[in-house]
Subunit: 330 residues, 2 copies
């Protein structure tokens, strides 16, 4: 295992300490592994809390800041955060208007956020939850009942975060989060595996000439293995899977996301194919992201996430955001 780390035991806390050192806009509780906006709680604003296993950076802590999340809870690599962490985060960002939990659909995450929501309710904090389940690749995968939650999480955090910043109610913020999730679909492809530091060996084996279509962000098996082929065909396979589930139409927000080890020159090549595919199917990409947003350690590969926009969603997407991982002017 060749990694830039001090030890498998400290990889998460070392990174959190690095985030604290790099970003004064964040308040980092290293012991509890909770990252909050330094100005939390924002009085009268709905608080947004997300979290999950580490190894997907910038998700989630990199999306804490103005216009997006109020807090993120970091689990061990590819391991759910525990309820205590989530309660600490929920309490810290409760500005009196309630707190929305943004939860990726993995069994551990769902259970732990649910337990945390109940504990927070005991403390008279109103909590709503949205469970993200945008991955069209498989049903009932390893770790998950139903569909996995992947790239749409970034869209939900951005758009619901923007609405919360405007003073919307918890019900309104939860509704827009659910709406974005319902309108979004994703599909991932791996060229290589990745190595969880504590495991010390690759999560799965993938021969030099094969790719995994429909990969999960923890290296969960996808739909099928196939021979390596031109990016054009790989992108089309991903888009076919999405289009079959939710036909492309109208104005779309589309992300081509790197899995962590994919060079940007390749992501732009994939973007070219994805954008041609969309146009060829009579829809329009009106907003986009190309880069590393929800990663799987050093895995090579990409995922594509499509959201059918409405004018209201597009306007919330465009709203200012100030986080380490996503930033445009306010």
């Amino acid at each position: 295992m060749k990694k830039l780390i001090n030890s498998p035991e400290t990889v998460v806390t070392d990174a959190l300490a690095g985030m604290a050192a790099a970003h004064p806009s964040l308040s980092v509780d290293i012991e509890n592994r909770v990252v909050t906006r330094a100005d939390a709680p924002v009085a009268g604003k709905v608080g947004l809390v997300s979290g999950g296993g580490s190894g997907h950076e910038p998700l989630h802590a990199g999306f804490v800041g103005y216009g997006m999340l109020d807090a993120a809870c970091a689990g061990e690599v590819f391991t759910s955060p525990v309820p205590d962490q989530i309660v600490i985060a929920t309490t810290a960002v409760n500005g009196g208007a309630g707190v929305l939990h943004v939860v990726k659909n993995y069994t551990g995450d769902v259970l732990n956020f649910q337990m945390a929501a109940e504990l927070a309710a005991d403390d008279a904090i109103e909590v709503a939850s949205v469970v993200i389940n945008d991955d069209v690749a498989v049903q009932d995968s390893l770790y998950t009942a139903g569909r996995r939650g992947v790239g749409a999480t970034v869209f939900v955090e951005k758009i619901a975060g923007a609405l919360a910043e405007r003073g919307a109610s918890l019900a309104e913020v939860a509704a827009v989060a659910a709406e974005v999730n319902e309108r979004s679909r994703s599909f991932g492809v791996a060229l290589t595996s990745c190595t969880v530091p504590a495991a010390g060996k690759p999560t799965f084996d993938l021969p030099e000439t094969e790719i995994e279509l429909g990969i999960g962000i923890h290296g969960e098996p996808g739909r099928t293995r196939a021979p390596l082929r031109p990016a054009r065909d790989i992108a089309a396979a991903a888009m076919d899977a999405i289009h079959a589930d939710l036909p492309l139409q109208g104005d779309l927000l589309v992300m081509v996301n790197g899995m962590g080890g994919t060079p940007l020159i390749e992501l732009y090549g994939v973007w070219n194919e994805v954008s041609r595919y969309v146009t060829g199917h009579g829809a329009r990409v009106t907003r986009n992201l190309v880069g590393n947003y929800i990663t799987s350690l050093e895995m090579q590969g990409f995922s594509v996430t499509v959201c059918r926009l409405t004018d209201a969603l597009a306007e919330l997407w465009d709203a200012p955001v100030e986080t380490p991982g996503l930033r445009w002017g306010r």
Copy 2:
């Protein structure tokens, strides 16, 4: 070779087409491989042109936009752009106030930018050049006489770009670019090699238990190979090399840059060590970047770049920038 590409022959143009599709703020001449701001030339503003081999994305085309570069020329992967491209870019962004060429110190780049500057002068375009040579690792490396130009290029493009945006003269913009270069030092470390698509095999071999200290951005040999060790020690080795060349003091702008295949969780861990090192040596990090800014395809590893700030340089660093690769509000 496992890559998300259509073919080695089209990897650069496919990526440029993707950039064009993703970023309407850019005007992309795919045939000539020149990326300009869509609003170029900006009348009365000094134009900034950079370029170099592809495979270092987001450098350079990802830094084209308000407050940074006016144009970038993309060579083949790890190959200098040709003079014709550079002349086209120089002409396109000449708003009447002259053009600054930002050139990384590699023999091919230096020669081709020089020839282009002479050709542009024949067309009565005033051109100044700054050659970036911040890499302390080695002198007279493969491809280079003197020191290589690496991470400081990002700082120069940002800071000189900000000054140009304010209407400074060509002499002033060239002077600040030279000043940033003189005040900056870099050092890179590779955990793995990378594969140039047209070559089809790794540029060099690095055993599973060894790292290369002082690596160049094209995989040029560094100072030494050493056993893999904790990130703390690797970061210290990089910082020792920089500190020995230009002692850390005062306010610093510091970048921990991923080589393309390094997960962000590891870069933040390295950042933690780098920032401790700086503090331990009595200096202060007052500005920072952590992420992928000048990459080497899918290489795993990092580089660190340090610039001794002045108040004026810090203020130019903070000025608004709107590019695909670096963005904060105006």
